[in-house]
């Protein structure tokens, strides 16, 4: 079995509590602050990585080079962007709802940050471990749409309003499909607890053990997930050729930066949840019977497994964006309500049948 980060965190907890003799309440506070800082750090590093990653991938699809002048291979490009955007002017607009306008970007960023708390980063490396982890994840991710709606409404601009309404309609609809495909997988796992879901994939990832219904659920999930992150071909809320910049047209400086970051982090979260539900979370790739191979796979740290899987799924979503044209709003709705949702429900029934009759691998 792999090294568990629980040992490390447990040792640290004991260090504070027993060895140093710090009282319990203070220990908890210190740990919370440290975890918060760690999360912020992971958050910003991931965002910077994703900005660079998307640009390079997009450049490769478009036969270009992409950023390569700032730092080695252009690695510092995203950092330069960050410095720039941090000190860019925050424009104060008249005729807007100041409070909601300022609140919106924080709601979006908080929603995505809360989701980070339940992602299974590695063996024992999880911030909150409770029995309805998946449920919590779904609940948190839907706060984001509130931020977008508020952003569009409070800007007092017709483009942002149309963008926000599109976004609201889109996210509320696609949340259903995400929910259905998640429930399908929860059926297979038999639990909503994130570490237990990961443990259940010890021998074989769900995408293999659940075969047909799991595959269908994955396809539905990845389509709905792309829509949920407002990325192409579902980027209607910020469709550049139609609504200039959609719901965040009026935002400047770091407020815009928050939306920009949240887009990439939502991408990571969607890929992370896909990893959790279909590709075994941090579980290494195990092929039954191949003992030597499994041992080698176990050698790779669990956190690397998780992030690598998530990045590969993100790559697929980025691939969508740079290949497909954008859908129209009515087609978008038709896709969800006429195809994805019925298929998802059918698939849920199929999955229960598969489980009931024990046809899983």
């Amino acid at each position: 079995m792999e090294y568990s980060f629980a040992n490390l965190t447990g040792a640290f907890h004991n260090l504070l509590l027993d060895t140093l003799g710090i009282p319990g309440w203070l220990t908890t506070t210190i740990e919370c602050v440290l975890i918060g800082l760690g999360m912020l750090l992971a958050y910003s590093l991931l965002a910077l990585f994703y900005i660079y990653f998307e640009r390079k991938v997009c450049a490769a699809f478009q036969c270009r080079l992409g950023p390569n002048r700032v730092g080695p291979f252009g690695l510092l490009q995203a950092i330069a962007d960050m410095f720039k955007i941090l000190i860019k002017e925050l424009i104060h607009l008249n005729h807007i709802d100041r409070f909601l306008f300022a609140l919106a970007p924080y709601l979006v960023i908080i929603a995505s940050m809360l989701c980070f708390a339940v992602l299974p980063w590695g063996n024992g490396l999880q911030i909150i471990d409770f029995n309805i982890g998946i449920f919590f994840l779904l609940a948190c991710s839907s706060i984001g749409v509130l931020g977008i709606l508020l952003a569009g409404w409070s800007s007092n601009n017709k483009f942002t309003l149309i963008g926000a309404l599109r976004s609201g309609a889109q996210m509320v609809s696609y949340e259903l499909s995400i929910g259905i495909s998640v429930i399908t997988m929860v059926c297979l796992a038999g639990t909503m607890n994130v570490p237990e879901i990961v443990q259940a994939q010890d021998h074989l990832w769900f995408i293999f053990s659940g075969h047909v219904p799991a595959l269908i659920a994955f396809i539905i999930y990845i389509i709905a997930g792309t829509a949920e992150t407002n990325r192409g071909p579902f980027d209607l809320p910020e469709a550049e050729s139609e609504l200039t910049a959609g719901y965040h047209t009026e935002y400047s400086g770091i407020h815009f930066g928050f939306f920009y970051l949240a887009e990439y982090l939502n991408l990571f979260i969607v890929s992370g949840v896909a990893t959790l539900l279909f590709f075994g979370g941090w579980m290494p790739l195990h092929i039954p019977g191949w003992e030597g191979f499994n041992a080698v796979m176990d050698f790779i740290p669990s956190i690397i497994w998780f992030i690598a899987k998530a990045v590969i799924i993100s790559f697929v979503i980025i691939w969508f964006k740079w290949t497909f044209p954008r859908l129209r709003i009515d087609q978008l709705m038709a896709l969800e309500w006429k195809y994805l949702l019925p298929f998802g429900l059918f698939n849920l029934v199929l999955m229960t049948l598969v489980i009931t009759f024990g046809w899983t691998l």
């Binding site: 270009r64 950023p67 700032v70 000190i87 860019k88 002017e89 910049a245």
Partner: protein, 202 residues
């Protein structure tokens, strides 16, 4: 002090006297070490992350598209994130003729840009009115309307010229001062004082 861009030697730039005079002017008052270091960091960020506003009125705009395409690929320098909303852009590449009817729109776009904002006059129409200078409905250069940082001559300028022009802008940013020193805001106020058409708005 040599102010240069990566992958372009200092000697290759044509107008180093101007940048040097600018540096000299800025350094006259001297700089605090800490503030100077912050300035350097911020300038590094700004000069390497110039996001253009998608703004094109005519022919030069098509060359700007070519600039983004594979052969010239402005993404290499970090100028790729062309924003459609002026709130999020850093500089405005005025690619094309600005006519009387467009002037209020153009000026409003400029006002909507978030600080720090820069303007590049791209092509002879934006610089002086170009071949249409004697027309009844063409602004004789955008310098009358907004302060311009860099001029790129040509009709339309080749994408290489545009790259050179944006590099000049990024060089200019490298010697700017965020904390104290010469403040761009002041010079802009002076500009509007000396340009009566532009001052009318305020």
């Amino acid at each position: 002090m040599e102010v240069t861009c990566k992958s372009m030697p200092y000697e290759a730039f044509k107008d180093n006297e101007y940048i040097e005079s600018l540096v000299k002017e800025l350094q006259e008052s001297g700089t605090n070490v800490v503030v100077g270091a912050f300035d350097k960091l911020i300038n590094w960020g700004r000069s390497n992350s110039l996001w253009p506003l998608t703004f094109a009125t005519s022919c030069c705009g098509i060359e700007f598209v070519s600039l983004g395409a594979a052969r010239f690929d402005m993404a290499r320098f970090g100028w790729e994130v062309a924003r459609a909303s002026p709130r999020q852009a850093d500089f405005m590449m005025v690619a094309g003729t600005i006519v009387n009817r467009m002037v209020p729109v153009f000026r409003r776009l400029y006002d909507q840009l978030a600080e720090p904002k820069y303007v590049i006059a791209c092509g002879s129409c934006a610089i002086s009115g170009g071949p249409f200078r004697r027309s009844y409905h063409v602004a004789k250069g955008i310098e009358e309307i907004v302060p311009v940082d860099v001029f790129i001559p040509g009709c339309p300028p080749r994408p290489e010229a545009m790259i050179y022009g944006i590099m000049q802008l990024s060089r200019k940013l490298k010697v700017e001062k965020f904390f104290g020193g010469v403040n761009r805001q002041e010079s802009r106020e002076e500009f509007f004082k000396s340009h009566p058409i532009a001052a009318d708005a305020d």
